[in-house]
């Protein structure tokens, strides 16, 4: 289920309106603008609330996304590369967010480092097509995953603090 703080975060991310996937060249540009606007707003919100936790950018077609996400644990910052493709069936299906450097380090991942989402994510996404976008996928998918998995992986010694990040 979605907890109260996630619910609050979500309600402050603008909803999207245009139902268009990357194969529909003309309206996809409109959708992409909405995606960027929602992402910019979400990052601004995070900065304001002192919970800034990711940066993303895309190729010019908006089909490949990459960037960084980080997680604070015991005052140390753990940073990871994030990447995903926009599937042809987007926004009906959510993007599959991946943290490639953690591939093979946790069972809560599919091949290629794609994070294993909860049972609640997909139904929630499906009920909110086309209103949810990449920002929502980050807030509902990656953020809770990091919050559960990263402390666990640190405790197990699977990931260690790197000074340079």
């Amino acid at each position: 289920m979605v907890d109260d703080s996630t619910r609050k975060t979500l309600s402050n991310i603008p909803l999207l309106q245009i139902r268009a996937g990357p194969r529909e060249k003309d309206i996809w540009v409109q959708r992409l603008k909405e995606e960027y606007q929602a992402l910019i707003k979400y990052v601004e919100n995070n900065k304001q609330s002192g919970s800034d936790w990711f940066r993303l950018e895309s190729n010019k077609e908006g089909t490949k996304w990459f960037g960084k996400c980080w997680y604070m644990h015991n005052l140390l910052k753990y940073e990871f590369d994030v990447e995903f493709d926009i599937p042809v069936t987007y926004p009906t299906t959510a993007p599959e967010i991946a943290l490639p450097e953690l591939d093979g380090k946790t069972a809560k991942m599919y091949r290629g480092g794609k994070i294993c989402l909860t049972d609640h994510f997909k139904p929630l996404w499906a009920r909110n097509v086309p209103k949810f976008g990449i920002a929502h996928a980050m807030a509902l998918g990656l953020a809770p995953w990091l919050a559960v998995e990263i402390p666990d992986l640190i405790e197990k010694g699977v990931i260690t603090y790197k000074d340079n990040c």
Binding site: K60, D85, P87
Partner: protein, 400 residues
């Protein structure tokens, strides 16, 4: 110096003999066969299949050699599916998968530990052509859901049939995720190709197959996925620390059901099931038909529905109900049948509502309400913002 030469010569001799040994191994593989023979001799790989004709099950079994099938996903279900079709002497198989064989796959059938590290399509192609060199095998090692690859996938299934330029006769989905299923659905709706969806639950105790004929039966986007109700209490279901479990049994059974129905469809015998579920916990096989959703989000699905409506329908032979006996002694779900006289095939109207689903099945989640976009309460993206170009937005995001 001469010592080193002697050593090298010895190594060469050893390698030569090993190579010779390997060659004899492969020589034991049989040659291609021009025509399927019905002759019952130990050396005829098709004698038991051709016997299906004599026993009046299948007319002209050899038509199977004119059929091309695309298999998307060559994992626990797809590899066994490919194996079965290869042994049945299918004309052509086109395999799609972007994954590699791993030792973690060894609890399933088909792949062997020495293949670890090879791409699944490559490893499968080698084994399959060894089993039956008559089958033409084409491999595609990429993820079909990305924008670039999807177009390749689309053109392959519509042009790489038995004759170049012809579509494949059937697409079999043996993938393990919603995204890939939706991509296959989109491609088959667009190309008007019949396909079977198949799946095994993440807890390995149920499976299903679904026959999708665009416009005629529900497409994969018409309703939330229909899954077998396992009647497991969510609270007792432990899923800590893992994504998915799997059993060779459930996967083999699902592959068997899939290929059986594919054969029935390709060779016109028996009745092809539109949806067949398998509950491994109580050996229950729920069955139903799903009608297309007239409000489907896929515009190609709507187009196919329109075409289907306009097409004259062949007069269906009435199939007699087999038995009046109760199907199940126990009724764990407390399900009551409303009307008993309707044949199973006509029971379900639009399966967008859980109430319309056959017993033992459920929708994976509640269908979203149609057109319930709340424009009012929420600020939509872009509202109150001056019209900015995409480039500006990208730059703004980058500079944050």
């Amino acid at each position: 110096m001469s010592n080193a030469i002697d050593e090298l010569q010895a190594i060469i001799a050893e390698l030569k003999s090993e190579l010779e040994e390997q060659k004899t191994c492969t020589r034991n593989a049989r040659e291609r066969i021009e025509r399927m023979s019905a002759e019952v001799v130990d050396s005829n790989p098709y004698s038991r299949l051709m016997a299906l004709q004599r026993m009046n099950i299948v007319k002209d079994y050899e038509r199977i050699r004119d059929k091309a099938v695309a298999i998307v996903g060559v994992g626990g279900v797809g590899s066994v599916t490919a194996d079965m079709l290869t042994r049945c002497g299918i004309g052509k198989l086109i395999l799609f998968d972007y994954d590699k064989v791993e030792l973690a796959n060894m609890n399933r059938l088909f792949f062997t530990p020495d293949q670890a590290g090879l791409s699944k399509v490559e490893a499968a192609a080698r084994t399959l052509s060894f089993i039956n060199p008559d089958v033409r095998i084409e491999t595609h090692n990429y993820n079909i859901t990305t924008v670039d690859n999807f177009d390749k996938f689309l053109s392959t299934i519509s042009e790489s049939g038995m004759q170049q330029g012809q579509p494949v006769d059937l697409v079999l989905s043996c993938v393990d995720n919603f995204e890939a299923r939706m991509a296959i659905n989109a491609a088959c709706n667009e190309n008007n190709l019949n396909w079977f969806e198949s799946g095994v639950s993440e807890n390995a105790v149920s499976g299903h197959i679904q026959f999708i004929r665009p416009g005629d039966t529900a497409c994969f986007a018409c309703a939330p996925p229909l899954v077998v109700a396992e009647n497991i209490d969510e609270r007792t279901l432990k899923r800590e620390g893992v994504c998915a479990a799997s059993l060779p049994t459930t996967m083999g059974i699902t592959a068997g059901l899939l290929v059986q129905n594919a054969l029935k469809y390709l060779l016109n015998f028996g009745e092809v099931s539109d949806y067949l579920g398998y509950n491994a916990l109580n050996d229950f096989f729920p069955k139903m038909t799903l009608k297309p959703n007239t409000q489907c989000d896929d515009r190609h699905c709507l187009q196919r529905q329109k075409e289907f409506q306009e097409r004259p329908k062949p007069v269906l032979q009435q199939v007699e109900e087999v038995s009046d006996e109760p199907l199940h002694a126990s009724n764990d779900w407390g399900i009551e049948l409303v009307a008993d006289d309707a044949p199973v095939a006509e029971q379900a109207p639009k399966a967008t509502d859980t109430a319309n689903v056959a017993s033992g099945l459920r929708l994976a989640y509640e269908a979203p309400e149609k057109e319930a976009v709340d424009q009012a309460g929420h600020a939509a993206a872009g509202d109150g913002m001056p019209e900015t170009s995409l480039e500006d937005l990208m730059a703004q995001m980058k500079s944050m």
